[in-house]
């Protein structure tokens, strides 16, 4: 019994079949489309929210959230490799044999099938000259001659290696897939965030839906991180100065930028992202209870400061030293300006709705150069999209204005004048005199505007105080990507073979020409036959050229 062997054989034959290959390619294409439409490797919570519990679990069990690494996708790729291998195994020996064999002999039937065909009727000497001319015109071609009965054949070949094109292309794809497998199996790729001045030796990466961690054989210290800007305010360059520490010793210090990674012990270290590495933040809390009290607190980005007395807490989420915004009116030419440092925090407290706030260090100077006072961006939903500007009126970097506001408030409350306009004016004059004495500020108008805006806005704020950014000591973290890819060179070899194979396949067609000589009634009928396996149109052109050249030498034609 040989049935098991037969089964294997028939499986092998199926594996190498064109139909299986096409089915695999179609399924792979469709699956790939799914992977591009459904965002991959996002936060699981987002998926749950997006699809609802039922579809979330269906998609999750199909591995669609990390589809390109799911078992079924990898199995498909595995089958593709098997199919390529079987295809090569079956066809390569045949192709090699075909490339070697070149029988000059042609049957009558075969001659009829040629599409490129011309003939002459010639005398004996002319035949000799045409044979010689045939070889001259086709310099660089390979010739083979044979006689069969009274017929004489000369075959010329060019590009006999064309089939190497197929072999190389398919072998190259197999090599690339093997390289990819080696990369996945023996390589790694993960992220590492290193705050300035600190070091780190662990990367994190997503595997399926889980985050995994991995120790590196060395640690990376970030000495500094810097950003360079274009005049337009767009970032130009992200640069990290890194030191590799191996076995407690500093072995290498180097700058990396995007597109120029560092290479150490088979691991490439790329500049991938950056962020705040826990900058020191000093807030100035401006009390809103009318007491004019101000106090400073210190905290860090990513930390939460809690006020034990009032129960209010400030969770600092981010800090940015530059905030470039387009300040142009809609429809006007763009006008990018840096609004200066800003800190983002979430303010919580008993009886308060939590809000996300972005507080700028400097007051807002409008396009006419007028100081419009300090301002905040406030988002009630906690989403940066919903930021609403809140103009506080006062320039809080100017202590005098803060005092002026409170003095005004006091005088206004104490005043007994009925007329509102008059009352405001007198209270403001009194406040001015109290704060500035005999030296009022240069732009009294502005100060008055600020105080009036503050009178409108500050009482509306529900918080016990406004935390403003007073000072900072910035620390970045540099977001690095570390990758080891032992399969990469295999992939490059495969790629080179692929391009080489394609060039042979498309641009070096196998072209064949025959000169067939047959005696007819004491004269010679000479046939010129041509065939190309690629690009017949161009060859037809060439064929006609050759025919014309030979005819010019040897006289008459018959058709």
């Amino acid at each position: 019994m040989n049935s098991l062997g037969d089964v294997f054989k028939s499986i092998w034959v199926r594996l190498g079949s064109m139909s299986l290959a096409i089915v695999l390619l179609v399924v792979l294409s469709i699956a790939s489309v799914i992977g591009t439409v459904l965002l991959q490797n996002q936060d699981q919570g987002d998926y749950l929210q997006q699809f609802g519990p039922l579809w979330y679990w269906v998609f999750r069990s199909l591995g669609l959230f990390d589809m390109y690494h799911s078992w079924w996708f990898l199995t498909l790729l595995g089958f593709l490799m098997l199919s390529l291998a079987a295809c090569l195994w079956r066809n390569v020996p045949r192709m090699l044999k075909e490339m070697r064999s070149r029988h000059p002999w042609l049957s009558e039937r075969a001659m009829d099938r040629f599409r490129l065909k011309q003939q002459w009727l010639l005398g004996e000497e002319e035949v000799a000259s045409i044979k010689q001319r045939f070889r001259e015109v086709l310099a660089g071609w390979e010739f083979k001659e044979a006689a069969e009965g009274d017929m004489h054949f000369i075959r010329a070949d060019k590009g006999r290696g064309n089939k190497w094109g197929y072999i190389l292309v398919h072998a190259a794809l197999l090599v690339i897939l093997i390289g990819g497998w080696v990369s996945v199996e023996f390589g790694f790729r993960g992220d590492m965030a290193v705050p300035e001045g600190q070091s780190e030796d662990e990367i994190s990466f997503l595997q399926g839906t889980e985050r995994k961690y991995m120790k590196m054989p060395f640690s990376v210290r970030c000495n500094s991180f810097s950003i360079d800007f274009f005049p337009t305010g767009a970032p130009k360059e992200f640069r990290s100065n890194l030191t590799i520490i191996d076995d407690g010793k500093e072995v290498l210090t180097q700058d990396i930028i995007v597109n120029e990674p560092l290479y150490y012990k088979g691991v490439r270290i790329y500049q991938a992202s950056f962020g705040d590495g826990g900058s020191k933040i000093r807030f100035r809390l401006f009390s809103l209870d009318g007491s004019a009290k101000v106090r400073d607190i210190e905290t860090r980005v990513y930390e939460t400061w809690k006020d034990e007395n009032s129960g209010v807490s400030i969770e600092v989420t981010d800090f940015k030293p530059f905030n470039v915004e387009n300040m142009a009116e809609p429809g006007q030419p763009k006008n990018f300006r840096d609004l200066g440092p800003a800190v983002e925090y979430i303010l919580r407290g008993p009886g308060l709705k939590p809000v996300k706030i972005k507080a700028f260090m400097q007051p807002f100077i409008d396009n006419d150069g007028i100081n419009q006072g300090s301002f905040l961006l406030v988002s009630l939903s906690g989403d940066a999209k919903d930021y609403q500007p809140v103009s506080l009126g006062l320039d809080l970097t100017n202590e005098d204005e803060w005092r002026l506001f409170h003095a005004f408030y006091r005088h206004l409350s104490a005043s007994k004048i009925e007329d509102a306009k008059q009352r405001n004016l007198l209270a403001f004059r009194a406040a001015l005199a109290e704060v500035y004495g005999d030296h009022p500020p240069e732009r009294v108008q502005d100060a008055a505007m600020h105080v009036l805006q503050a009178m409108r806005m500050l009482p509306k704020l529900p918080w016990p105080y406004i935390p403003m950014l007073e000072d900072f000591d910035q620390v970045y973290y540099t977001g690095l990507q570390l990758a080891k890819d032992p399969g990469m060179n295999i992939v490059w070899v495969g790629s080179a073979l692929l391009v080489l194979g394609l060039c042979i396949m498309f641009y070096m067609p196998h072209r064949k020409l025959w000169l067939v000589i047959r005696p007819v009634d004491g004269r010679m009928r000479v046939f010129l036959l041509g065939m190309a396996n690629r690009n017949e149109m161009a060859f037809a052109h060439h064929f006609n050229e050759i025919f014309t050249k030979l005819t010019r030498e040897s006289g008459r034609t018959i058709t």
């Binding site: 792979l28 360059e237 990507q481 149109m537």
Partner: protein
């Protein structure tokens, strides 16, 4: 497909013989000279690539290399006369001549550039390249209309007008891009970069590549009727380009750090050789389907006389794909090499990468159907058209609808 006309023969003889060979040697010399400068010149890399090329040092490097190459070619030609008949030389030299002409045109346009003090990042409307591109738009539209008119009135005059305007449009577009490259440095040396960094620029590149691939086929196979389809595709693209300009996408903007790499100058143009060739294949496919329809209805239309035969159209579609497929493959591989250098992995299943793979599979399947299964005709013509739709999605759709690492090609 008839014998070539006298005209192209006379021009063709300029590309053979010693004139062609010497020019070929000179061009090769320039390329090697530039490479040698990049590799061996100590001060190379201090200023941007384009400014290095335009500097006296650059001119000395590739100028002397060109002289050397031309001299060497002349000597080699004298030693081995068979080189005079080289098909490689005859095929490549016209393209290189075209590049030279384009550079010359760009220099000519540069003379009309406003004074440095008038050039401003905020308002780029006074740059000359914008005007050249506008001229290109008009010429391409005119060309498309002429090609269509030529179908109904096959006088050689209209056909020549169509072909001529296609050439003019492609040269205008190419020289405008070169000029834009130079202008980006005029705005600010820091901002300057090769003009293949956003959708607007690559669109112009796509028009030029498509037109040139088509014209190369037209010149060799007298397939002028196909132009009505290819140039219509280009005309549609021209309208999209005008729209991009009108929404402010045409401005020269600084490069994001991820694009600041010499790979951009290689990867992007090569990709568009692929896209352009696929567009021509789509045009051939449409022409095939059009003729097929006429024939199926037993039409005696005069149109049939202008059209290449079905078999020729089938071959032309295949030929364009045979140009596009290897170029696209190489471009994708080079993209992978860039990704390995910039993103930490040669393949990340980023939407753009994945769609490039899908495009590759679609045309790979086309080639299998044709070569191993011997398919021809209508089904493959449809395939060429559908394949181009997939290509367009890869080129535009991915940027517009999907997010990913290629998001700098996005409309904003």
């Amino acid at each position: 497909m008839r014998a070539t006309t006298m005209d192209s023969n006379r021009l063709g003889s300029l590309n053979r013989g010693w004139t062609g060979l010497v020019r070929f040697g000179a061009y090769l010399g320039v390329m090697l000279g530039v490479s040698a400068m990049a590799m061996f010149d100590k001060s190379y890399g201090e200023s941007p690539f384009l400014l290095e090329l335009l500097s006296m040092k650059g001119v000395l490097w590739y100028g002397s290399a060109a002289l050397l190459g031309a001299g060497l070619a002349a000597i080699l030609g004298a030693v081995r006369p068979s080189l005079h008949e080289s098909r490689l030389v005859a095929n490549l030299v016209p393209w290189l001549d075209g590049v030279l002409l384009m550079i010359g045109l760009a220099f000519a346009w540069a003379a009309f550039e406003p004074a440095a003090s008038q050039i401003d990042y905020e308002d780029q409307s006074n740059l000359v390249s914008g005007r050249v591109i506008m001229a290109m738009n008009v010429v391409f539209l005119f060309s498309a209309i002429s090609y269509i008119a030529h179908l109904f009135a096959p006088e050689s005059f209209i056909g020549r007008l169509a072909t001529g305007s296609a050439y003019v449009g492609a040269f205008l577009g190419g020289s405008a891009l070169l000029l834009r490259w130079y202008e980006s440095y005029l705005i600010d040396v820091e901002i300057g970069h090769a003009p293949v960094s956003n959708l607007y620029e690559v669109f112009i590149l796509l028009f030029c590549v498509t037109t040139f691939v088509y014209l190369a086929l037209e010149r060799r196979y007298q397939a002028r009727a196909m132009g009505a389809f290819v140039m219509t595709l280009v005309a549609v693209g021209v309208f999209f380009g005008i729209w991009l300009d009108s929404v402010g996408q045409a401005d020269i903007k600084p490069l994001v750090p991820a694009l600041q790499s010499y790979w951009m100058k290689i990867h992007v143009p090569l990709n568009f050789v692929g896209y352009g060739a696929f567009a021509v294949a789509c045009g051939a496919g449409m022409a095939y389907l059009f003729r097929h329809r006429l024939e199926a209805r037993n039409s005696q239309s005069r149109l049939l006389r202008v059209f290449p035969t079905l078999e020729q159209l089938d071959q032309l579609a295949y030929k364009s794909i045979a140009i596009g497929f290897p170029a696209f493959t190489l471009a994708t591989i080079l993209g992978a090499a860039w990704a390995a250098e910039a993103w930490g992995g040669y393949w990340s299943w980023d939407p753009k990468e994945t769609w490039a793979l899908i495009v590759w599979l679609v045309y790979g399947a086309y080639l299998h159907a044709r070569i191993s299964h011997g398919w021809h005709g209508k089904a493959l013509a449809w395939w060429a058209v559908a394949g181009f739709l997939v290509t367009v999605f890869c080129f535009l759709g991915v940027n517009m609808y999907l997010s990913g690492l290629h998001s700098y090609g996005r409309l904003s």
